[in-house]
Amino acid sequence: LGTVCRACEERGLVELAKRGQVDWDRLHLIGVECTSEEAQICRCSHPRPTHAPTVVDAPPSAPEGGPSEDSAGVLPEAVEDRLEFWRYWSERCIKCYGCVYACPQCFCPACALESPLWVERGRVPPPFPAFHLIKAIHMAGRCTSCRECELVCPAEIPLTLLYRMVGRDVEDLFGYGTGASLEAVPPLLLALEEGARA
């Protein structure tokens, strides 16, 4: 199966392969480099596909490690202000589940966000911060910042920023770069084996 993909989508396919959702050996990836402008819009520091045997470059292609992925300039400094920041965005949520439907990494047949056990039915906006944090935590070691969630969100909630911060923690705490290598085991899969990794 030939698949055209950006670097983030390529990393996403790596994560899907690790979870048995795609057969990596049957994929033929055609990578597409993003331009500097595109990388800047996405605040992406890894705009170049690394696994695809065929890569279409986009001169002038974006430099690796270029624009910052961090939250500086978007997220307030103080913790209380950050809480307010996320509360403000959460209250705009119309609970359309677009972020779940659009997410290539959301493949669970039974979604926690659609279970009345976790999310009260008929309540809009959804409970803060549980609703968005459930999704964010499930994105640990999965989200590759393709921004599909952000682009479909009618409330324009900066979801990718939230998932990126989880991804940053996963990298800092477990040394796991999401989608970076086919061999590394995602920390959430490892956690099932107690004591496998200190």
Partner: protein, 135 residues
Amino acid sequence: MRYQSVLTICPFCGVGCGIHLQVMDGAAIGVLPARSHPVSEGRLCAKGWNAHAFLHRPDRLTRPLARENGELKETSWGQALDIVADRLDKIRAGTGSDTIGVLSSAKCTNEENYLLQKLARGALGTNNIDHCARL
């Protein structure tokens, strides 16, 4: 296996968001938002994301039914319209036009909704007309 992505309009409300219906072997299996659409710009609400869900439901009404001796029976459009016209006529003659109410639908076009209010006000003689498109 034949897959098609059909660009169309969400049938639910008056906004008219652009959707791509995902069609597999003639059956609508999903919805994707249309990013090129000037109104919705690739965004949808919960109803839009599920706009395909009612299409193939087995309990969906596809033919007119008339109640006969308390039981719903399939009938022709001509007969169904005759029954409705006859009953509306009787109600109007009995208790008056203001005892009739008309409910329109967000699934209709503007033009169809206009025609229905014309029918309500002009033919039935009532101002009791409403719809679910006032979201």
